[in-house]
């Protein structure tokens, strides 16, 4: 595939597949609760409808409230697009490495939290405050987890990391196991899933993400929801492609691309199912348990890093 097409594919993949993954998780949860659930394509319909609706803006809001959805959406989508989906030959990856990816997500979150504060309601501030608490503990854990990988591959460029993973001899690295567990925990926290936050709730006192976007409506709400779905897909792809890079396509042949696409779809479906199952069997945690949970993630990431330094020295 030529590079321009590949870049376009990246953007389209994340933008278009995100509602599907979210729908799939919902579907799995519904089946586990003995409900039929909404159709898989319901997510698209909702977005489409919201996009065409008139947007209500509270009279206490400032311009930040109106630009925030665009910033959140653009930064999340751009962050996602730098993540190799099919293979390591991704030109976008050299524009923004993994640290920039985390930075772009932080940019989106900054505006999301500002939007929560903007209307001047108690719920908005509550959501922002909690979101910033969670993210400030989660961010070091994410970076520690990915640093383990980047130290192994000697690069923070995601394309180089993927390339390294594809071409290195298969070996069981204890550090990767720890990093994987850490990233799983953090991914759940960062995408606002159970047990850290519940995307399906409007129960006032437990909301985090929903509290921040409480006032949004119409196309603004569509962008916020869409960005949250893209973020979920982003973390899912990050997990499956960095830790299970099977089937990824190093050369860029048509068959290879097709295989890679099938592989990644399959892997994402598995992740979605797993997420649906965990969400069904777990209950949401109290907010002040969340720091313990994230400390656990941080500790796992740290263990991963130390085991890399101690056990896998020079094992390039």
């Amino acid at each position: 595939m030529n590079t321009g097409l590949l870049v376009l594919f990246q953007f389209l993949f994340f933008a278009l597949a995100a509602p599907l993954l979210a729908g799939w998780v919902k579907r799995v949860k519904a089946r586990l609760q003995n409900r039929r659930g909404t159709p898989l394509l319901q997510g698209y319909r909702e977005l489409w409808k919201l996009m065409g609706k008139q947007a209500l803006v509270p009279d206490t809001a400032s311009p930040v409230y109106r630009i925030a959805p665009y910033v959140v959406f653009a930064s999340t989508l751009l962050a996602a697009a730098t993540l190799p989906v099919l293979g390591p030959r991704l030109p976008l990856a050299s524009m923004a490495d993994i640290i920039v990816l985390v930075g772009l997500l932080a940019l989106g979150r900054f505006f999301l939290a500002l939007a929560g504060m903007d209307v001047g309601t108690a719920f908005g501030g509550l959501g922002s405050s909690r979101e910033m608490l969670i993210s400030s503990l989660a961010e070091p854990a994410i970076l520690m987890a990915v640093f383990t990988l980047t130290l192994t591959a000697h690069s923070t460029n995601l394309a180089s990391v993927t390339d390294f993973l594809l071409h290195s001899a298969p070996a069981l690295r204890p550090s990767f196991l720890f990093a994987l567990m850490a990233l799983l925990l953090v991914g759940i926290a960062e995408t606002g899933r159970i047990p850290v936050d519940n995307p399906a709730t409007h129960l006032e006192l437990t909301m985090v993400h929903e509290a921040m976007i409480l006032e949004y409506s119409g196309r603004h709400l569509a962008l916020m929801e869409w960005a949250a779905q893209i973020k979920l897909l982003l973390y899912a792809v990050l997990l499956v492609n960095l830790f299970f890079p099977w089937g990824m396509d190093a050369q860029g042949t048509p068959t290879g691309t097709l295989v890679a696409l099938t592989a990644v779809t399959f892997k994402l479906a598995v992740v979605g199912t797993a997420l649906g199952v965990t969400e069904s069997v777990l209950a949401k945690m109290r907010l002040f348990k969340v720091p313990l949970y994230l400390d656990m993630a941080f500790l796992l990431a740290l263990l991963g890093l130390l085991s890399h330094v101690i056990l896998e020295v020079g094992s390039r």
């Binding site: 009279d59 400032s62 209307v119 640093f147 000697h154 196309r219």
Partner: protein, 667 residues
């Protein structure tokens, strides 16, 4: 824009003229004062730029002033140039800001001349420190800077807490200056002279150079605000007039960083660097950063909060310096150069965004007469320009792409991630932990600035003053606009800047960062393109394109416009300003998580309704400073026993002293 290097004498001359004009508080004199400040700033920035790009050669001069046999030397080299640029850029912002701010400050003040006079001396002191080429002139300039800034700190001396803050500052500045003097003394003893050239070529044994390093770290660290020597900083910086706070926090701390870099990397010299020093710097740096940001989160006085953030950023800078020392000492000059460049880049970035934030805070205080952010709110609609510039400052200091703070933190991360080149397992695990601390600091800083911006500029006004805030004069906005523009520029175009930094790291560390710009202006590739690259112009472009396409996609809904409505708030009644989240409640979960670090006093009291109060104090006061204070007082009391009032005892004492001195001389 090549400036003839022969213009350099204007650099000290202009502040002297400024000092004279500053004595008068009449309007034309004030305007002339700030015009001269602008001119001086432009000159400093132009000279700095010339030195960095190599258009100007490194020049040395000796001055006729000084003591017989101890002439004063000046030298302008790329490292001085970098800091001249920094001083100049901030000065250019402060100059248009000053007249509007001072107009409100001066009437009714008993000593208006002091402000201008000492501001000029303060600038002179800072500029002389960075061009001084011998320890003697360096110390004179350093003291000039410290003393004149003391006067500025106690400018509002009618309030007792300002006098107290000023005294603390004066005391700590002098303990620090003493340590610096001793550090120079160690090198001078081995080099037999005070000129920097002599100090550079001094042959210092490793043990003594470690002693010098520790003294320099204490001395310069005290000025820079390194843990645990930072306590004066959040007391002293906020009480000065805001444009002076910007200069103190934005520039003076950087002069301390300059002193430290000059001393460690240039005078001690790269070959003398030891791994242990690096580990010490790394530890001190990461702890300072974390401590600073956690305390910043607990503040609700806007200027105190910003001062604590200065502590945080100084920590980040020292972390970078620590990485540079470690990599140089283990024989990896290339990575060391990246780390040093990251630290210096962050130094400049911090000067820009912190000055911007202080000027913004000054503007907010100017129009609301409030310092407590709990009494602000909704100011973005009252002061749209200040609000926009302040947002740029917040995004920059929170290290978010594509702003400037992100670039320097990214470079620091890149240096820390080269840990695999090291041989020692301990170091290899220490560096990523420091990187994680940096990540935690960055995330907490973002939380803190969501709090600041959300509480000050968004929401609804929490007091009458905030609801009736007025725009600030155009000049004050211009100063902020300049810095905001620079924050964006330095974030989007890092490659020329890193290339300029190469002229500093080249002579000092032996690597001129050639690799960083191999891919042209668009890509920053500190180590190699394969290892890591960051293309901020493209990130901006891609963000803009995505934004545009999104807007296109939404045109169906956009055609229907927006409707203004009451906030929904889950169907409760219309929220009043008092129902909003406050700064204290915003930070409460973080306070609870990191409770062990704070000295917290909270409680409810009933006086005409229930009031909640919360005081968060620096634990170090109780653990470190109060025992030291008690010790000093106790010692003084013991010494005071000598003062018995009996003449015979005094005579005996003098006689004994004389005998002892004669014995010492006879040795």
């Amino acid at each position: 824009m090549a400036v003839p290097v022969s213009l350099w004498p204007a650099l000290p001359a202009l502040p002297l003229v400024m000092a004279v004009t500053g004595l008068s508080a009449r309007r034309p004199a004030v305007l002339l004062f700030f015009a001269l400040m602008l001119l001086d700033g432009l000159l400093a920035a132009a000279l700095g730029l010339g030195l960095l790009t190599g258009q100007l050669p490194t020049v040395s001069h000796s001055l006729v002033t000084g003591l017989p046999g101890l002439a004063w030397h000046l030298r302008l080299d790329p490292l001085s140039g970098w800091f001249l640029l920094l001083i100049g850029l901030v000065q250019v912002a402060v100059a248009p800001y000053g007249p509007g701010y001072v107009r409100e400050l001066l009437p009714g003040h008993r000593t208006p001349g002091a402000l201008g006079f000492f501001t000029a001396l303060f600038l002179l002191g800072m500029q002389l420190v960075v061009v001084a080429d011998d320890a003697f002139l360096f110390m004179i300039a350093w003291e000039l800077m410290s003393l004149s800034s003391y006067v500025l700190v106690v400018f509002h001396h009618q309030r007792s807490e300002n006098r107290r803050a000023g005294f603390l500052y004066l005391l700590m500045a002098h303990v620090g200056a003493l340590a610096i003097l001793l550090a120079f003394g160690v090198l001078a003893t081995h080099g037999h002279g005070f000129a920097f050239d002599t100090l550079r070529s001094a042959d210092v044994p490793p043990l003594w150079s470690t002693v010098a390093f520790v003294l320099a770290l204490v001395g310069f660290g005290m000025k820079a605000g390194v843990l645990p020597l930072h306590v004066w900083l959040p007391e002293a910086h906020p009480v000065a007039p805001s444009h002076v706070s910007a200069l103190m926090s934005g520039v003076m701390l950087k002069v301390a960083v300059y002193g430290f870099v000059r001393f460690t990397f240039d005078l001690c010299g790269a070959p003398a660097l030891q791994t242990g020093w690096g580990v010490a710097l790394l530890t001190v740096g990461s702890l300072t950063a974390l401590y600073g940001v956690l305390f910043a989160l607990m503040q609700h006085d806007i200027k105190r909060l910003l001062a604590y953030h200065s502590v945080e950023n100084i920590g980040i800078i020292f972390l970078g310096l620590g990485l540079a020392v470690i990599f140089r000492a283990t024989g990896h000059p290339g990575v060391a150069a990246v780390a040093l460049a990251a630290a210096l880049y962050h130094t400049l970035n911090h000067a820009l965004f912190k000055s911007l934030l202080f000027l913004g805070a000054g503007a907010v205080m100017h129009s609301t007469h409030e310092r407590d952010i709990e009494r602000m709110g909704g100011l973005l609609r009252r002061m749209p320009w200040t609000g926009t510039f302040f947002l740029v400052g917040c995004l920059s200091i929170s290290a978010l792409p594509p702003f400037n703070g992100f670039v320097s933190e990214w470079l620091t991360f890149q240096a820390a991630l080269q840990t695999w080149v090291l041989d020692s397992g301990l170091l290899r695990s220490l560096l990523p932990i420091a990187a994680a601390m940096l990540a935690l600091t960055g995330a907490l800083a973002a939380a803190c600035f969501v709090k600041v911006y959300g509480v000050v500029f968004l929401g609804q006004g929490r007091s009458r003053h905030a609801r009736h805030a007025r725009r600030v004069p155009r000049g004050m906005r211009a100063g902020q606009a300049w810095l905001a523009l620079l924050c964006v520029l330095f974030g989007i175009l890092p490659v020329p800047i890193v290339r300029a930094l190469g002229t500093i790291t080249g002579p000092i560390l032996g690597d001129d960062l050639h690799a960083a710009s191999v891919q042209g202006l668009l890509w920053l590739t500190p180590i190699s393109p394969k290892t890591a690259s960051y293309g901020p112009p493209l990130v901006v472009l891609a963000l803009g394109l995505t934004w545009w396409l999104t807007a296109r996609l939404l045109r169906r809904g956009r055609a229907r416009g927006v409707v203004s409505c009451e906030p929904w708030d889950c169907g409760f009644s219309r929220p009043t300003p008092r129902m909003q989240y406050t700064a204290t409640s915003f930070a409460q979960p973080i306070l609870r998580v990191f409770r062990v670090l704070f000295d917290v006093e909270e409680g409810l009291e009933e006086r005409g309704g229930i009031h909640y109060h919360l005081h968060v104090r620096d634990r170090l006061w109780r653990l470190l400073y109060e025992p030291i204070g008690r010790g000093v007082l106790g010692a003084a009391r013991q010494v005071a026993r000598l003062q018995s009032g009996r003449l015979r005892a005094y005579l005996a004492g003098s006689f004994a002293t004389l005998l002892m001195l004669l014995w010492v001389i006879g040795l």
